[in-house]
Symmetry: C2
Subunit: 349 residues, 2 copies
Amino acid sequence: MLEDKNPQKTSLAELGEFGLINHITQYFNINQASSVKGIGDDAAVLDASEKQTLVTTDLLIEGVHFDLSYMPLKHLGYKAVMVNLSDVYAMNGTAEQITVSIAVSNRFPFEAIEELYAGIQLACDTYKVDLVGGDTTSSTKGILISVTAIGKANKEDIVYRNGAKETDLIVVSGDIGAAYLGLQVLEREKQVFQVDPNNQPDLDNYTYLIERQLKPEARKDVSGLLKELEVKPTSMIDVSDGISSELFHICTQSKVGCKIYEDKLPLDPQVISTCEEFELDSTMVALSGGEDYELLFTVPIADFDKIKGNPNFSIIGHITEENQGLNLVTRANQEIELKAQGWNSLKEQ
Amino acid sequence: MLEDKNPQKTSLAELGEFGLINHITQYFNINQASSVKGIGDDAAVLDASEKQTLVTTDLLIEGVHFDLSYMPLKHLGYKAVMVNLSDVYAMNGTAEQITVSIAVSNRFPFEAIEELYAGIQLACDTYKVDLVGGDTTSSTKGILISVTAIGKANKEDIVYRNGAKETDLIVVSGDIGAAYLGLQVLEREKQVFQVDPNNQPDLDNYTYLIERQLKPEARKDVSGLLKELEVKPTSMIDVSDGISSELFHICTQSKVGCKIYEDKLPLDPQVISTCEEFELDSTMVALSGGEDYELLFTVPIADFDKIKGNPNFSIIGHITEENQGLNLVTRANQEIELKAQGWNSLKEQ
């Protein structure tokens, strides 16, 4: 009875998540002096008199972000927290609190929810953050979990996405691509299981990949490692959607281009062997896989000696002029344009 | 393949929301010195050097919390913000920021989401809060919205649920029961519409009720009104689940009992006339209706003269000893025990 007779129809799939966010945010004003940074980075920055408060939030939905047939609820709870802490660390901050809201359909017994919160608790204890609020309700279908993380940082320590400068080095912590491959392995095992429930899968060759998918760890340590090295990143972001997509964010916001090198991408041996087995291009997996929750950042070229050879970090390329665009230099020394292939959940459904 | 062969089964319905929360929270420790108050009140309190930060979050799910056949999306957006700001005001704080996460199925065109955010924007502009973050994703079914609000308050101004003392007066702002009746009217019209889509409903007699349901306002003004009167509540809570349920929270946390008076409950004339039409008991509606987003608070009996006769407030009873329980004194001067009939979404599905 409240329907518009001639509604305009623009499909969400067509618009994509970034398009949708851009459309939505253009109408919002900043009213509070304390809102130092709102939408557009890993976390919002709120002024406090001594330190600034960081706030970030993520929503995980069954059937979109996870599949309970291979994601144990405890791991889901742990991962939901990691995803959010990772955003706080990507601002170079310290995570201090989280709120967790869940909705569950009645097909879940209480013990299932207890498992979920056991994972959340483990994450809280391990990362020294406090659960300080939330909401619990029923859903009409499946389970969903919404986490907000709150952190702190000294104003001068916060690292945004928009500070990358030409000639800066592009650095990534740890290795990449494993979480995506872990998902491929689990999807394959699920299909095998559906055909033959008595089949006992042998997952020994994929333990690292599966752990990266089911129990990712946020890089709480990077901030301290960089402080010890006396390096302050000029820009930073966490790798949730894949390096291509994250570089796209940094370059767009910093108004620069970049060049990264295929042979510099840090890949675990299991990533390489499993890519061969699955007939996947390991470079594509590393660039577009996502869910690694490593930190991608840029540092002044003068810091080269401090970073090179450090086992925690890999220098994968450098920042260029904006008009050069985003490029990958292949092993055959060919330059190809990077495409932001970030995961678009609105398109996939 | 990761299934427990003999899982325990405790139904969520049986446990209820409070039971579930109690079970979940007992295992969480507070790690941060800045976590002044976590779970257990309308908002969490986080220490900052001058002011304390307030954080609260709520989740609204289509088919559980709202029905889009009579809830326009713009109103939904507005209401989702109000529900959260109300929690900040119930701590006697000032709301400053919100984050909003939404999940939508592809049946919604972009314009629908734009409408939703138009309501959020209107709420932000009207209440001077900033949208500072969020997450946008797809859902496998329907629409859901998760809002986190962040506010500030001087440490000495914050009002918790646990400070009510014997002989304190129980006060409520505005009037109660209208939002629940608005929902009943809308549900009835929906059924009429389903039978005869050409029927033009005459809603003139229910305008106030429908407005209270579809466009509630959080009581941002109460804090200032009380300051002018030089009254500081001893406890405070917002009326989201109904006065019975809110009194239950205050009395449990304050370790007191209460006595409220049927003839003191503030009811709008439309509530009285519509209760007659629907053959509903107006006292039951006022006590258990919920979604009023008024503030319920207690003040020392010495403040009686400051509150009485104030058109914004109604004194509805007083706090008693804990062992007296929670009681309603009827118009016939009978005492009956109050039951916390709070809305339990886990039970209803």
